[in-house]
């Protein structure tokens, strides 16, 4: 409890009158990779968006680094160093790769830009090759790398990844997950990951939560959940990559 970087407690989020999150409790400790798995429409992305303040939670609290961020506007939450690679990647299509990375570094007004961009290019050499190409002309995998790279440029304390494997070939997914692992092990980056690709996510994570119908139904270490027969039946069998 003392080590929690992000703690979500009893959060309820509504879209109009529809309750998307029904009292969710999630904790992410410093230096951990935590993943959230679940079926379509379970509320995984809603939780991610609620952490970012768009939409805001109707009740419950979200604490980050000891500070209540539940009612902050999105850009103020981002300025607390919570970086997000949103669902669907949302890179800037008409800007070049290099400019996209610059946008990521706008919090510090490019102070650490040169230093950080080298790190991103070492992590994703493909981005270096493509740096003067427009974001919209990249392949899906490269766009995902760019989206993560752009989030990392903000020097985040917590990286939120929403479905980084969406629509990508297994080999590219592996590359991206390896990169996340490297970031976590070498730089101690805390990662909160939302994934449908349960097998890859559970293998990567220290801990994980399972979400069904807007509620967290199970939690445990990645290994535990991988071995859990219920989880296997619901998310892993037949869906293995």
């Amino acid at each position: 409890m003392s080590d929690a970087l992000l703690s979500v407690s009893a959060v309820e989020t509504y879209y109009g009158n529809i309750r998307a999150l029904a009292g969710v409790n999630v904790e992410v400790n410093k230096g951990e990779i935590v993943s959230l798995i679940g079926a379509n429409g379970a509320g995984k992305s809603t939780l991610m968006m609620t952490i970012c303040g768009s939409p805001q939670a109707r009740s419950g609290t979200i604490t980050f680094d000891g500070e209540d961020i539940t009612r902050l506007p999105t850009h103020m939450i981002a300025r607390r160093r919570i970086a997000q690679s949103p669902e669907g990647r949302r890179i800037f299509p008409r800007m070049t790769v290099y400019e996209n990375l610059q946008m990521g570094a706008s919090l510090d007004n490019l102070k650490y830009f040169d230093e950080d961009v080298e790190k991103i290019f070492t992590l994703f050499p493909r981005l270096k090759e493509r740096q003067s190409q427009r974001g919209g002309t990249l392949s899906g995998g490269e766009q995902q790398m760019l989206s993560i790279g752009r989030a990392l440029m903000a020097r985040p304390k917590l990286l939120l990844l929403d479905e980084p494997s969406l629509g990508l070939a297994p080999l590219i997914v592996k590359g991206i997950f390896d990169a996340i692992k490297v970031l976590n092990e070498e730089q101690g980056l805390t990662v909160f990951l939302v994934e449908q690709n349960a097998f890859a996510a559970l293998k990567l994570s220290h801990r994980a939560y399972v979400m069904v119908n807007g509620q967290v139904t199970m939690s445990g270490s990645g290994k535990e959940l991988l071995a859990n027969p219920e989880v296997r039946a619901a998310y892993l069998e037949g869906g293995r990559h």
Binding site: R94, M95, E99, R150
Partner: protein, 463 residues
């Protein structure tokens, strides 16, 4: 016309036969279309009776144009276009070095504009230059400046604004009213007009912060109309539809005046013969400076955090917020900056006309400015300038085409066809270049080794 697509198969005489067939067909279609619209005309005679006029000659011209045009299109133009396309795709992609003219286009254009009044004076004489400096030079540059100002809102920040003329009006009336009421000079009021317009930009910005695309466009359209209606109806201040006249002229920083009676009259100070041309030339340089200021600020801002935030906002608002960009202030600064340049242009307009009335700030003006931005290619300064020259210069040129009267009779006034041609030109440009004259966005940041990287891509064919 199902046989449009398979042009490759037909060749030689076959092609001519088909072209003839399609030509006749097009003629028949246009005959059917125009026989009632063009062939017959109803007019009222002196006793208030409807009279049916028959215009078979005109109808024949319409039908002939359609038929011959279709024939030429099918028989000659299309095969040639296809041949060119085929040869272009057959040619290997080579690294094309842009010519000297293209690379230095903006420098050459600015240099030309700097000497333009002197060229006009040299060719047409002092009085003869009036038309060229005023009708063409100043008129086009006003629209260039307005379009560059609107480009900040529409092209960079991606906020569709249909009421831009409101800020133009605010600037114009700021100068007109304040100079008359308080006797302030143009140079004091120019910044003030810009600030007031920027202020109105923020006032417009607040209610529309949450709106996007079509919804935003409708509200801005309404805003433009509100400003115009206030100008018409607040007669105590604005004198309504009569407008404000007798607006004082600008001076050369207060050193030389352009009022004939003044002791420091420009022509007298330089020992030149009296002419209104000097004032127009001065105004030309003034609007040129203002337009270049707009361009300079736009170019600088694009490289600064706020400009990058505008462009990112255009691309993806949600991503912007997740990167810690305050979209509220970003939008408001875009509205305010764009409006400020509209205000500058407005006060220049007032000084140039010496008269402002709500007539000058109708929706059509907003539409023209916006279409210049779209035709030029959103975000591209050079493209927008070219579009302004083509569109505004083209319509001015129509006034000059008096020789057309010889063909169509003395009643023919070419400028009445202005909007028809304007619309046609827009359709043609949008078919030919859907993203405007200069559709590609110039990046603002590179690593040092950019050249090497980009050239290696060209040889690879963009991977």
């Amino acid at each position: 016309m199902s046989n449009i697509s398979n042009t490759h198969e037909s060749a030689g005489g076959n092609l001519t036969a088909r072209a003839l067939r399609e030509g006749v067909f097009a003629g028949l279609v246009s005959l059917g279309l125009f026989v009632l619209f063009v062939g017959l005309e109803t007019t009222q005679n002196i006793r208030n009776e409807l009279v049916l006029n028959q215009r078979w000659g005109l109808l024949a011209i319409f039908v002939a144009v359609a038929a011959v045009g279709r024939f030429l299109m099918v028989a000659y133009i299309r095969p040639r276009l296809e041949a060119r396309k085929a040869s272009a795709s057959a040619k290997p992609v080579t690294e094309e070095q842009e010519g000297f003219f293209r690379r230095n286009f903006s420098k050459i254009a600015i240099a030309f504009l700097l000497v333009y009044p002197f060229i006009a004076v040299a060719i047409f004489g002092v009085q003869g230059s009036l038309k060229w400096v005023d009708n063409f030079g100043i008129q086009i540059l006003i629209y260039v400046m307005l379009a560059w100002g609107l480009n900040i809102v529409v092209g960079l920040a991606g906020l569709l604004d249909l009421g831009y003329v409101a800020f133009y009006a605010v600037g114009a009336y700021s100068y007109a009213l304040l100079s008359q009421q308080f006797g302030l000079s143009f140079w004091a009021l120019l910044p003030l007009a810009g600030i007031l317009a920027a202020f109105w930009g923020i006032i417009l910005g607040f209610p529309v912060l949450r709106l996007k695309g079509d919804y935003l466009a409708i509200v801005t359209l309404a805003f433009g109309e509100i400003i115009r209606l206030v100008l018409i109806n607040w007669t105590d201040v604005t004198r309504g539809t009569f407008g404000v006249s007798g607006i004082p002229k600008a001076s050369v920083f207060g050193i030389w005046s352009f009022d004939v009676g003044a002791p420091n009259y420009f022509a007298k100070a330089f020992g030149l013969p009296m002419s209104s041309a000097y004032y127009k030339i001065f105004l030309f340089y003034l609007i040129l400076a203002l337009a270049l200021l707009t361009a300079y600020v736009t170019i600088r801002l694009r490289r600064m955090p706020i400009g990058r935030a505008w462009e990112a906002l255009r691309e993806d608002e949600i991503a912007c917020r997740s990167l810690g960009i305050n979209t509220v202030t970003t939008k408001l600064t875009a509205f305010a900056t764009g409006a400020m340049f509209g205000g500058f242009a407005g006060s220049f307009f007032a000084v140039r006309q010496g008269f402002v009335s709500p007539e000058s700030f109708v929706f059509l003006e907003s539409a023209i400015i916006l279409s210049i931005v779209v035709l030029g290619g959103m975000g591209s300064l050079v493209g927008i300038a070219i579009a302004a020259v083509v569109m505004v210069g083209g319509t001015e040129l129509l006034r000059e085409m008096t020789f057309l009267k010889a063909i169509f009779g003395p009643d023919f006034t070419p400028e009445l066809y202005r909007m028809l041609i304007f619309g046609l030109a827009m359709v043609v440009v949008m078919v030919w270049k859907p993203r405007g004259f200069v559709g590609s966005r110039e990046p603002t940041a590179f690593l040092k080794e950019r050249k090497a990287v980009s050239s290696s891509f060209t040889t690879e064919g963009h991977g």
